[in-house]
């Protein structure tokens, strides 16, 4: 065995896909099932629109290309849709801010088009009237995240990757020099010179098993799911304020409306962010706020029934950037976690960067901003 990947979420699955494709023999181990953590709670957003110029946007742009390639390799069940995103602004002030963001994004290679209020209604006929305008991001896409993760794992499996769900890693095996030799699990040992931490929100715990600090914290989000509807909402539509919420470091509750249809019919409504640990109770105030904001953006949804509400825990790192790459503190340990709410989108690029790093190939992007040891200085 060359590589043990800890975590069968979408990031672990993408790591398995790309490392096995590069010819390495791989095992994926997860204490739960496939897509059992944050992946299964995600909406499947593959976004460039919500990222400002910088390392995360570069990662997202690389991923956007890779997802497009994957959509041709993987079965159509992954429901890849290059549907595009529409960011709307309610006021002239927020429109001005949005336009400034878009200008910066364009320089970084993002396709972003200003949309007038009239054109907005053409693109999304059910949007509330009197919006100041918006911005169209044709590169934004969506997949069904759990299916996508499973199919990535299945593709790795066809190249011999071993999938071990329901098996928890309880220790990292190291040699006398402190280099990784594999993992100890609840069922035994898996030996390999490389261990990839793709444990998502629980990545900090895994890092701790290896004796290193990685401050991944859960940032809770709720999603409302409506009754099945015709394709009322064509793009991923969200309010300009969402970008500010995503990049805020506050522990307090933030909500901004994010609304999109799905091929199966239900409309998904997000997004809330709050740091409340792993609290799994339904928050009525959060759900009410999400509902109010969605109904304000799409009045037609007011009469629609919400069938389900669920939550997920985004793996949050204090600077909102994931940890990707080798850990200089423990030879053989690689990290691929802490993608916060963007893990589905950023998974393929992460997987490819990890595969290249393990292979000793020069990675497509500079890994320095994602250095896992960057929080040690704190």
């Amino acid at each position: 065995m060359d590589v043990v990947i800890v975590g069968a979420g979408v990031v672990g699955a993408a790591c398995a896909h790309y490392t096995s494709r590069s010819g390495l023999s791989v095992a994926v181990v997860d204490r739960g099932p496939v897509a059992g953590g944050t992946t299964g709670s995600g909406e499947g957003n593959l976004l460039v629109s919500d990222k400002v110029p910088g390392p995360e946007l570069e990662l997202a742009l690389l991923s956007a290309t890779l997802w497009q390639q994957l959509s041709e390799e993987l079965p159509p069940d992954i429901e890849y849709e290059l549907k595009g995103g529409v960011v709307v602004a309610a006021s002239q002030d927020s429109l001005a801010a949005l336009s400034m963001t878009a200008t910066g994004q364009r320089r970084a290679g993002v396709e972003a088009y200003h949309v007038t209020p009239d054109r907005l209604r053409d693109m999304e006929p059910h949007l509330a009237p009197h919006l100041a305008g918006g911005c169209h991001y044709p590169q934004d896409a969506q997949v069904q995240p759990a299916v996508a993760a499973s199919e990535l794992l299945r593709s790795a499996g066809r190249r011999g990757a071993l999938l071990c769900p329901g098996e928890e890693v309880v220790g990292i095996l190291t040699d006398s020099r402190g280099a990784v030799r594999g993992v100890r699990t609840t069922r035994g040992e898996l030996r390999a010179p490389v261990v990839v931490n793709a444990a998502g929100t629980w990545g900090g715990d895994l890092a701790a098993l290896a004796g290193v600090h990685l401050p991944v914290l859960p940032r809770r989000g709720f999603v409302l799911v409506t009754e099945p509807l015709p394709r009322l909402i064509r793009h991923k539509v969200y309010a300009a304020e969402y970008v500010a919420d995503v990049s805020s470091g506050s522990a307090a509750l933030q909500t901004s409306p994010v609304v999109e249809g799905t091929p199966s019919g239900p409309v998904l409504i997000g997004a809330s962010r709050e740091r409340v640990g792993f609290d799994r109770t339904l928050s009525v105030p959060v759900v009410a706020r999400l509902a109010a904001q969605a109904a304000a953006l799409f009045p037609v949804l007011g009469d629609v029934r919400v069938m389900r509400a669920y939550h997920g825990f985004r793996p949050y790192l204090p600077d909102h950037l994931p940890a990707i790459g080798p850990d200089p503190r423990v030879p053989g340990l690689f990290h691929a976690c802490g993608h916060e709410g963007a893990g589905i989108g950023l998974a393929p690029a992460t997987g490819q960067l990890i595969a290249d790093a393990i292979r000793g190939k020069r990675p497509a992007l500079d890994l320095a901003p994602f250095a896992p040891e960057r929080f040690d200085a704190e």
């Binding site: 009754e227 099945p228 509807l229 015709p230 009322l232 037609v300 029934r305």
Partner: protein, 108 residues
């Protein structure tokens, strides 16, 4: 003690209902006894399905009878996705076979 077997549920419980009224199902009149749900009125008329499914367009009607399974969804007076097994029928109600998600009107 042997009871004579009733021929109908109404006979069994000695039903003396109020005056009958009508609802319309896909344009045809269906008699209703006061207090009956829409599903009960349709069953009385021998109608067992009033919805077609989203994926395969198959007919469905009441299944669980207590509002838990949502199989009995019908379009009632233009409002889709009403549970026929719970909703009391009212004079003049117009029931139409619901197709798929029932929201075709929104799609336009």
């Amino acid at each position: 003690m042997r009871r004579t077997r009733a021929r109908t549920p109404a006979e069994l419980v000695g039903s003396e209902p109020g005056p009958e009224f009508q609802l319309s199902f896909d344009g045809r009149p269906v008699p209703v006894l006061p207090g009956q749900t829409i599903a009960a009125a349709l069953w009385s008329a021998g109608i067992l399905s009033w919805r077609t499914t989203r994926v395969h367009g198959r007919p469905r009607g009441a299944f669980c009878g207590i509002g838990a399974c949502y199989d009995c969804l019908a379009t009632v007076n233009g409002r889709p996705n009403q549970r026929a097994c719970l909703l009391p029928a009212r004079p003049g109600d117009t029931i139409t076979t619901q197709e798929g998600d029932g929201h075709a009107a929104l799609d336009g």
